[in-house]
Amino acid sequence: MDVQVKLFGAFRDCQPEPQVVLALAEGALVADLRAALEAHGRAHWPNFNPALLARSAFASDSAVLRDAQPVPAGVGMAILPPVSGG
């Protein structure tokens, strides 16, 4: 399945478009999505920072999802670097 991942914070600077689309197997976990984004970053983003990705979380529109959870089907995802609001 194709999963769209919106980019936020420092990931905005990796490419002009605000999202990437990654191909995952059916039933993939968030950990698989993390691995796919890391592979994509290493392949396509000259300024990719794997350490930042390791400290970043994945989320749907409504909740942060843990690595052991499945990627929900048909839902846009987002990659969230460490936050610094306010």
Partner: protein, 174 residues
């Protein structure tokens, strides 16, 4: 949840309004209102700042504001009105980044609820800031990781003390 007003204001479309926040959390039964206003300041870690861009994942942020408000309502006994507002976009020096107001019957709860909400928003909301400097450079601020091991599940504030400052994460706008 009409006792809580949760809002994200795109700077191009308007500004956060402290008066509206005070008005919203007022009630004939409330004797105490505490409000926090976060503004962009001109200097951080010795560098002259010209502005800050706030990036935000809006639907998740509003969801988080609602969880933060629900927790405050549980913690402070329900007699509570809250206003949580955050700006989005490119702000200049002095612009308001954040307005949180809490109204309660007595002042102690107002102070504690306001503080708790401010810390939760700063530590758990999907909001990122990029500082712009006089020399033209820009830097994304480090911050609180939302990964497991860093933050509990459920989007609630993690166990930072109120005065917590990240060693790895200076808090430039504050």
């Amino acid at each position: 949840m009409d006792r809580h007003h949760l809002t994200v204001v795109e700077i191009a479309e308007g500004k956060l309004n402290p008066d509206a926040a005070l008005e919203f959390v007022s009630d004939p039964g409330f004797g105490g209102i505490t409000m926090f206003v976060g503004r962009v300041r001109d200097l951080n870690h010795g560098r002259d700042v010209t502005g800050i861009s706030y990036d935000m994942f809006v639907p998740l942020a509003l969801n988080g504001f609602a969880e933060i408000a629900a927790k405050a309502e549980r913690d402070f006994g329900g007699k509570l009105k809250l206003y949580i507002g955050h700006a989005k976009g490119r702000l200049g020096i002095g612009d308001l980044a954040m307005v949180v107001a809490a109204g309660t019957p007595h002042r102690d709860e107002a102070f504690r609820a306001c503080r708790q909400v401010v810390e939760a928003v700063k530590h758990t909301s999907p909001i990122w800031k990029q500082e712009h400097y006089v020399d033209g450079d820009s830097v994304w601020s480090e911050g609180c990781s939302l990964c497991e091991g860093h933050a509990p599940a459920g989007g609630q504030a993690h166990a930072h003390a109120p005065g917590h400052h990240h060693q790895h994460a200076p808090e430039p706008g504050r």
